[in-house]
Symmetry: C2
Subunit: 125 residues, 2 copies
DNA sequence: TCAGGTACCCACCTGAAAGTAAGTAGGCCT
DNA sequence: AGGCCTACTTACTTTCAGGTGGGTACCTGA
């Protein structure tokens, strides 16, 4: 995979969507950016407990290539970079909502443990 | 992972749902079973071009453990096993619909290639 | 008689995803 | 003077999903 954009061929729409959200942290990044609107690199890192810098960067770059995430660089010292969702990122997040509901229901059903991620003002899904 | 049921801990609902659909062929299996209602092992294998027997079995077993798929064994010779979706499998499939639409839109947008899988009477999503 | 169908199980191998740990460059705080 | 902050990059290692190719037991049709 490296850094090149994933581009099929796909069996179906699910396949194409999964290709873009596949990655240990991508749906969480989407969720985090959705909740905060815009986040700096270090904020995201702190918001996703357990993510490594390498994986966070890699996922963000891929999501940028896939047109889900916008990356705004401020040429300052110390460096400042802000990430936010693009229109496509927002719509993908919306499309994930029903899946999130299903998953929440499953967690309740099987009584799985849930990692508490305190996202201020976030509505659990 | 092996064959044990995945059971978190999860960050959120998306996480829990992804855990269950993660796997190269799972969403296709869901789709296939949804279209045909009930399918035998060899029918599924032929319906998913490229899948190996090992992966198909492995995925079916995991989906059975996760309560998505029902496995009906007919003690005959030659052996006959029928797979179908459970209530949870059906609802998961429904929850995947909006994601499928998003993916289809993405395929159109980036002009990705689509592997033609001819599922008789199937509505592409 | 022997290939081909049924639904699997098993051991081994590979490639890609993810983890680990280090380095970079300039500024701020103590 | 030394450590921490920013946002990364690079190299090396580990892990594991998935692929490959074999075997099982029984029956059917050529």
């Amino acid at each position: 995979m490296a850094t090149s954009a994933r581009r099929g061929p796909y069996f179906c729409g699910i396949d194409a969507a999964m290709d873009v959200v596949a990655g240990k942290w991508k749906s969480l990044i989407l969720w985090e950016l959705h909740n905060y609107g815009t986040r700096r690199f270090a904020e995201l890192r702190r918001g996703l407990p357990g993510v490594s810098e390498k994986m966070l960067i890699q996922h963000l770059r891929e999501m940028e290539e896939d047109g889900l995430v916008h990356r705004e660089v401020y040429r300052e010292v110390p460096p400042k970079v802000e990430y936010s969702l693009t229109e496509h990122g927002v719509s993908l997040n919306a499309a994930l909502a029903s899946l999130g509901n299903w998953g929440t229901e499953r967690i309740r059903r099987i009584g799985a443990e849930k990692v508490p991620v305190d996202v201020a003002g976030a509505v659990p899904r």
